[in-house]
């Protein structure tokens, strides 16, 4: 397995203080139920992810990026191997609970409910988590402000927001129950350069200032330049071959 770690001064200091593995992929393989015996979408992958770091998973189409994302976000289970989150195997965890309390997921196409306002989308996620706070809307606005959205956006239907604004709402939604890890699938794929930079800055802050583990599946060089660690899925597969 080859991976590329980008060190910078700032992160070096931080990493030295917290070598805290939050997610560990151990010899994970995945094969679709209708695939042939040796036709794996993902085979024998082993990665570690630490809190306070920002990761990129890079790879060409068909290398299994989305499959890996669905495994670490608990949308699918490994057919072989296992994924350990915070000391517990996902194979034995309730994945619904895992998704609505331990991790936040951000998609390229935002995946917000279009018939709801920005704040309602965030509150929905709080409700799904069973979060018990008095004023959920206030908390939603606070989160929106954290990702650079003004309070006035709270009551707007998400379809009336720009792509960048919708992605900020999606990030705010993923933060609504304060998860330990953020998983993002091409979060800047639909955004312009300027907005991409702004969104990446938010992720960077979440990792470096709030000690969250941020994993981004991407094609973007700009993203790769921003993250602390890059896992190249293609090389991994080739090496295994």
């Amino acid at each position: 397995m080859a991976n590329k770690v980008k060190n910078n001064k700032e992160m070096k200091e931080k990493n030295n203080s917290s070598h805290n593995i939050i997610l560990s992929i151990k010899n994970a393989s995945y094969r679709y139920s209708d695939a042939e015996e040796n036709d794996y979408a993902l085979r024998d992958i082993s990665f570690d992810f630490e809190s306070g770091k920002m990761y990129a998973i890079r790879g060409r189409s068909g290398t299994g990026k989305t499959t890996l994302l669905s495994l670490i976000s608990g949308l699918e289970r490994c057919t072989e191997g296992e994924i350990i989150f915070d000391g517990k195997s996902l194979n034995s965890m309730n994945l619904d609970k895992y998704r609505n309390s331990d991790i936040g997921i951000v998609f390229q196409s935002y995946n917000l409910l279009p018939f709801m306002t920005a704040s309602e989308n965030i509150i929905l996620s709080m409700d799904a988590n069973g979060l018990k706070i008095k004023n959920k809307k206030e908390k939603a606005i606070e989160l929106m402000e954290k990702v650079g959205l003004k309070e006035t956006y709270a009551d707007r239907k998400v379809l009336r927001l720009s792509g960048g604004e919708q992605q900020r709402v999606a990030i705010a939604r993923s933060l609504s129950y304060n998860p330990k890890m953020i998983i993002a699938d091409e979060p800047t794929g639909n955004l312009d350069k300027q907005t991409e930079t702004e969104i990446l800055e938010i992720f960077k802050k979440l990792a470096h200032e709030e000690n969250k583990c941020v994993i981004i599946v991407t094609h973007s060089q700009n993203v790769c330049d921003t993250v602390d660690v890059i896992y190249d899925l293609k090389k991994t597969k080739e090496e295994k071959k």
């Binding site: 989305t66 669905s70 949308l75 699918e76 619904d96 609970k97 895992y98 998704r99 609505n100 309390s101 997921i105 998609f107 390229q108 196409s109 995946n111 917000l112 409910l113 018939f115 929905l124 996620s125 409700d127 799904a128 988590n129 069973g130 939604r173």
Partner: protein, 488 residues
């Protein structure tokens, strides 16, 4: 709470679709309420009729058994059949009393007939037309046709079926007739016999048996036989012209004083349920009833009066089933379309960690909320609409019953029947003895009652669950990632 909150938000968001679902359920609820109300009322009426009619069992010849091996083309065969008929062991009053001692029998009554000749009166006759009632004689089978008159004794008012069914109608009657009719040598005679012998109420008549022993009777009533009851169209007189009606104990006294006299007995047993007839028949055979006799019930007659209501009941059931099938299919299809439209929403909700169970419950809750509102409205509209239909049905049945009661009263001479009549050998009330008494429903509460509402609720929830199967199955099968990838 989260499920209900989301369900409510979704209902508000999809007003058009939910109004459509609501209208469909409203129509189903409305139709169900009306049909259930009619069906329940019809069932009540049928039960009322069934209960109003005594469940009667009579003994009759088993003709099929007697005619087996009978070859009419051979004289020997005819002779054998006649011999078999003559050798049938009949039964006596003590046999009837023995038969009646059964757990299946609630009560019994009988008619007891004997043939006598006139002493101071003449038989109404231009040509020989004296027909004896069907019955089973003392000892071997025999007939009473050789005598002038038939004295028929009824054990109780219940036994007087000819008066109850209208074959005989009382023309004249003494004031105290029903108080004394079952206490002594009193008779009711046919109008034709009265005219023929110039007899009137309170006249005394004398009859005698073959040994010349005379019996005196006082006339306390004069009846006529309705034309439709008379079977001999070639005769000048009706069948009952020479029949004198009295009580069974009078006939019993006559037969006790003359053991050679021919008499017939026709018992009727009131049973608890038609289902026990076969067991009762087996019990009768064990007690000595000849196997050439069989038991017959009045079930067909009892139910013939409610055939139209049974038809309404069948129609209501069929209509209900068709409504539910069509309604169920339509709701299922709407739900299928609904799920397809909301696939993306399901994908998003699953991705943010809402469990399949919670999601399924949300979709079912949406349908339940809409259904409950529609069911309440449907039940109200149905209740109002069913009132006219059901009450019309009830009114016609009540009128029919009242007319029947009045008619029977007239047959007994229009006297006050309450409290002065015999009840299975004791004094009782003519009402309810062998005739239908229908409970009068005059309130809408009796139509759409709690039973109908519970049935409606059951039907509604069943429909909701069936039509929710689409969403339940789809949510279990959908992969959130696949949905979101399709969307992307």
């Amino acid at each position: 709470m989260f499920i209900l909150k989301n369900a409510w938000i979704s209902i508000k968001r999809n007003k058009g679709r939910n109004i459509l679902i609501g209208i469909i359920i409203l129509i189903i609820a409305c139709a169900c309420t009306i049909t259930l109300a009619i069906k329940n009322t019809a069932v009540d009426l049928i039960d009322s009729y069934k209960n109003a009619y005594d469940k009667e069992v009579t003994i009759s010849f088993n003709r099929a058994n007697m005619m087996k091996d009978f070859d009419p083309s051979q004289a020997e065969g005819r002779e054998n059949a006649r011999e078999r008929f003559d050798n049938i062991e009949s039964f006596t009053i003590s046999d009837v009393e023995s038969f009646s001692d059964s757990e299946y029998i609630e009560s019994y009554y009988y008619t007891y007939s004997v043939g006598l000749n006139g002493n101071n009166i003449e038989k109404a006759e231009i040509e020989s037309n004296n027909t004896m009632p069907n019955g089973f004689g003392r000892g071997k089978q025999n007939n009473l046709s050789s005598t002038d008159f038939t004295l028929t004794g009824y054990s109780s008012l219940d036994a007087m079926s000819e008066f109850i069914n209208g074959t005989y109608t009382m023309n004249e009657i003494t004031d105290n007739a029903w108080d004394i009719a079952f206490d002594g040598n009193y008779v009711f005679i046919n109008q034709e016999l009265a005219d023929y012998n110039n007899l009137k109420l309170n006249d005394k008549i004398k009859l005698e048996d073959d040994d010349g022993k005379t019996y005196e009777f006082e006339i306390i009533g004069i009846f006529k036989e309705n034309e439709e009851g008379s079977s001999d169209v070639m005769s000048m007189f009706s069948n009952s012209a020479n029949t004198l009606v009295t009580n069974a104990s009078v006939v019993a006294n006559i037969t006790a004083s003359n053991e050679e006299i021919n008499a017939t007995i026709n018992p009727t047993f009131i049973i608890d349920s038609y289902d026990n007839v076969e067991k009762l028949q087996a019990e009768f055979y064990e007690k000595g009833l000849d196997e050439n006799f069989v038991l017959q019930t009045n079930e067909e007659i009892a139910l013939s009066g409610v055939s139209s209501i049974q038809n309404i009941n069948s129609f209501a059931t069929t209509f209900l089933v068709i409504t539910l099938i069509i309604g169920g299919i339509v709701l299922f299809v709407i739900n299928m379309i609904n799920i397809r439209e909301r696939k993306y929403e399901i994908g998003v909700l699953r991705t943010i960690g809402i469990s399949k169970f919670k999601l399924t419950m949300q979709f079912v809750s949406e349908l339940v909320i809409v259904s409950v509102v529609a069911l309440i409205l449907g039940a109200c509209i149905g209740a109002v609409s069913s009132k006219g239909v059901s009450n019309s049905l009830l009114e016609s049945e009540i009128n029919s019953s009242n007319e029947r009661t009045e008619e029977i009263g007239k047959n007994f001479g229009g006297a006050n029947m309450n409290g002065g009549m015999l009840d299975h050998g004791n004094r009782g009330d003519v009402r309810g003895k062998g005739m239908p008494v229908v409970e009068a429903y005059d309130s809408i509460d009796a139509v759409v009652d709690i039973k109908v509402l519970l049935e409606l609720l059951g039907i509604g929830l069943t429909l909701v669950l069936i039509s929710s199967i689409a969403s339940m199955v789809s949510i279990q099968r959908f992969s959130p990632l696949t949905i979101l990838k399709e969307r992307s």
